[in-house]
């Protein structure tokens, strides 16, 4: 069945198909449509979940933690200031290995106040121990909610997962989305079956414990190891999903015309679609350009990125965020990854889209042109702002 829906609607459809036991809901633009739709689904009986009207985002995630701690499937959603307000609960949940799935509508953070999309919010929480995926369109949003539960609840992963959608550009734009069959989703996503990290009457446990200076480090190392190893589970789940539903997302990254590319642009989320069109246009002019769509920022797919970039001469990284006093965060991560290559390509950081500033086809083309110059040995500014009216 196909439905003409927006990104927020698509997330709600993905949640309905995933049958969480409990949804803790608090509104924030541009996520709100998701919790509205979910309340309607619970009201009309098409979703048999408990729907909890929590009084804040802090409680939204805290409530989900309580739900997950007894082995039930939990969903919540947030954005921007809401994500930052619940921030302390993110490492809490990941350290306790609670496989919560949360949608985040990527939105600018105050001040200046702004409700439009950039990725400053989720970048703050890159170190929170959550798996972070960034989706490009409404179909991918729906599909990734379902995949997220499979990944998070895998006994070798047991890590919460954040599904990121670009605010407005994706959350509020409409497209035709295929709604998978419930029976097929049930086959793909079995009921949650937590064993170790859950409280139960038969097997009582203390959770979210304290571990002093003699044990704490080892807990963290174990968590890090499992997060790094989750890359294999993510790839496996994506393949199984594709086999079942016919849509493959290529796991950690998706390469577009990268095989012989001399310059490659790294994108996340919605800007990927625009970039592909520009890429096609420049290819028709004989320019060897390609796109690397970075889907996951944690775990960070170092080997896959390096494998794609190793023969390129210049690489551009679009960051819809900036770490004040330094540079774009994805740029930092990619550069660190490239250090593992003996001969790494030159990199340029294109920071854009902050506070919802448009990134146009012309801007993408300019970025490619800069990269082509770099590939010919020209020196270019290392950090460039896209589509702005002020100097750096």
């Amino acid at each position: 069945m196909n439905k003409f829906i927006c990104g927020d609607d698509a997330v709600a459809e993905g949640v309905r198909l995933s049958r969480p036991h409990v949804i803790s809901a608090y509104p924030i633009t541009p996520q709100t449509i998701t919790v509205e739709r979910l309340s309607e689904m619970v009201e009309d009986g098409s979703l048999k979940s408990e729907y909890v009207h929590v009084e804040s985002e802090h409680s939204a995630l805290a409530c989900a933690m309580g739900v997950s701690s007894v082995g039930a499937r939990a969903f919540t959603a947030t954005s921007s200031q809401g994500l930052l307000y619940m921030a302390e609960n993110l490492p809490y949940a990941s350290g306790a290995r609670l496989p919560i799935v949360m949608m985040n509508a990527n939105r600018s953070i105050a001040t200046p106040w702004n409700i439009y999309g950039d990725q400053m919010d989720s970048m703050f929480l890159l170190n929170s121990g959550w798996i972070q995926v960034y989706v490009e369109d409404a179909q991918e949003a729906l599909d990734m909610v379902i995949q997220a539960y499979r990944i998070a609840e895998d006994k070798n992963v047991m890590t919460p997962m954040m599904v990121n959608l670009d605010g407005f550009v994706l959350t509020h734009t409409y497209e035709l989305v295929e709604i998978p069959d419930q029976k097929m989703v049930d086959e793909f996503l079995p009921p949650i079956n937590m064993v170790e990290q859950k409280m139960s009457v038969e097997n009582p446990k203390s959770l979210c414990i304290s571990a002093g200076n003699d044990f704490n480090f080892e807990f963290n190392i174990k968590q890090n190891k499992d997060m790094i190893n989750s890359e294999q589970i993510i790839e496996m789940v994506d393949k199984e999903f594709g086999d079942k539903f016919g849509r493959y997302y290529n796991g950690m990254i998706e390469n577009y015309k990268c095989d012989d590319a001399e310059v490659i642009l790294i994108t996340t989320g919605t800007i990927t679609g625009t970039s592909r069109i520009v890429c096609d246009e420049m290819r028709s002019e004989g320019k060897k350009v390609g796109i690397l769509k970075l889907r996951y920022l944690r775990p960070f797919p170092t080997e896959k990125i390096n494998n794609t970039l190793k023969n390129a001469k210049a690489v551009g990284i679009i960051d819809k965020n900036m770490s004040f006093g330094y540079e774009g965060t994805i740029f930092t991560n990619v550069n660190s990854s490239l250090l593992k290559l003996e001969n790494s390509p030159k990199t340029i950081n294109f920071i854009g889209g902050i506070g919802g500033k448009d990134i146009t086809k012309a801007n993408i083309k300019e970025a490619f042109e800069v990269l082509l110059k770099v590939s010919n040995g020209d020196k270019q500014e290392r950090i460039q702002y896209m589509n702005v009216r002020c100097d750096k």
Partner: protein, 298 residues
């Protein structure tokens, strides 16, 4: 109703032991007895505070039942999540409780508690009130009474210690029209256990505010906890009451108050108080009791 709970009838089974609380700790006594009343199908949520700090130190866990540390502000929300999660899984006949301190309840946790009461989630929320942030080293909270010397409300030439009275948590909770709320004291344990039993039998949210002296934070000998907890009630500086069906009931209404001075001077946190300071405390008490005696006695 089950049989009356007292020293003879309460179970010998311990559900909370081996923790590292100080000798004479009133709060740990309240939890120990509450757990005995609630039984082993209990899920306990504890925010930051003494009780979580002393009970979950890997690998030694002090609760024999299920227990979880919550973010400081989130006792109500995590307890709600546990209760609703169990309901969604079809797991019945369980108790979900929050054990928070005075700061964890009246200050940082007030919002989440309010949300839980508003939803009437099936939880029992305990405020273990020892009148300051003890775990961090005796700092003033919203439930620290007037004239208390703490490490952030020093008593000196210019100030008598804390200058706020003490948030009226019981009535703030009751104002939500909660299903059941009560105040209690570890000085009157039979009354406390009766109220825990009542909360256990309540469907919906219940709240028990238990007064629990702290020898370390208050500055008194560890064998005086029960005595001081009694004196606080008898001198009128604390009170035993219930709220149900929209009505307040005062459970203990002494004809004459025991000595406020004796209670205060037994503790180093109040030793600096002047006669004028004590008059402020007594006047506040009298105003409160006038209202309670008028409206809460039937």
């Amino acid at each position: 109703m089950t049989k009356k709970l007292n020293a003879k009838t309460i179970t010998n089974t311990e559900l909370f032991y081996g923790h590292k609380a100080c000798g004479g700790c009133g709060e740990s006594l309240a939890i120990r007895l509450a757990m005995k009343v609630l039984g082993n199908r209990t899920f306990a949520a504890l925010p930051a505070g003494c009780m979580s700090a002393v009970s979950f130190i890997y690998p030694n866990m002090a609760f024999t039942t299920n227990a979880i540390i919550t973010p400081f502000a989130a006792t109500g929300a995590v307890a709600s999540g546990i209760s609703i999660g169990l309901k969604a899984l079809g797991i019945e006949e369980t108790n979900v409780v929050g054990f928070a301190g005075d700061g964890g309840t009246a200050d940082i946790g007030l919002q989440a508690l309010s949300g839980a009461i508003d939803r009437d989630d099936n939880i029992i929320y305990f405020c273990n009130d020892n009148e300051a942030y003890m775990n961090t080293g005796i700092q003033k909270s919203g439930l620290t009474p007037y004239g208390t010397k703490t490490t952030t409300s020093p008593a000196g030439e210019n100030l008598p210690g804390s200058i706020t009275m003490k948030k009226n948590m019981f009535e703030i909770v009751a104002a939500h029209d909660i299903t059941y709320a009560a105040t209690a004291s570890v000085g009157y344990l039979e009354d406390f256990m009766r109220k825990v039993q009542k909360a256990k039998e309540t469907k919906g949210t219940s709240y028990i505010h238990v007064f629990a002296p702290c020898p370390t934070g208050w500055g008194y000998a560890t064998d005086m906890t029960i005595d001081l907890a009694k004196q606080a009630v008898d001198s009128g500086l604390w009170y035993l009451a219930e709220y149900e069906n929209g009505e307040f009931t005062l459970n203990r209404n002494p004809k004459e108050f025991a000595s406020v001075e004796k209670y205060l001077m037994a503790q180093s946190r109040f030793k600096h108080l002047t006669e004028d300071n004590i008059k402020v405390i007594k006047d506040h008490r009298d105003k409160k009791w006038q209202k309670m005696r008028k409206n809460w006695v039937r």
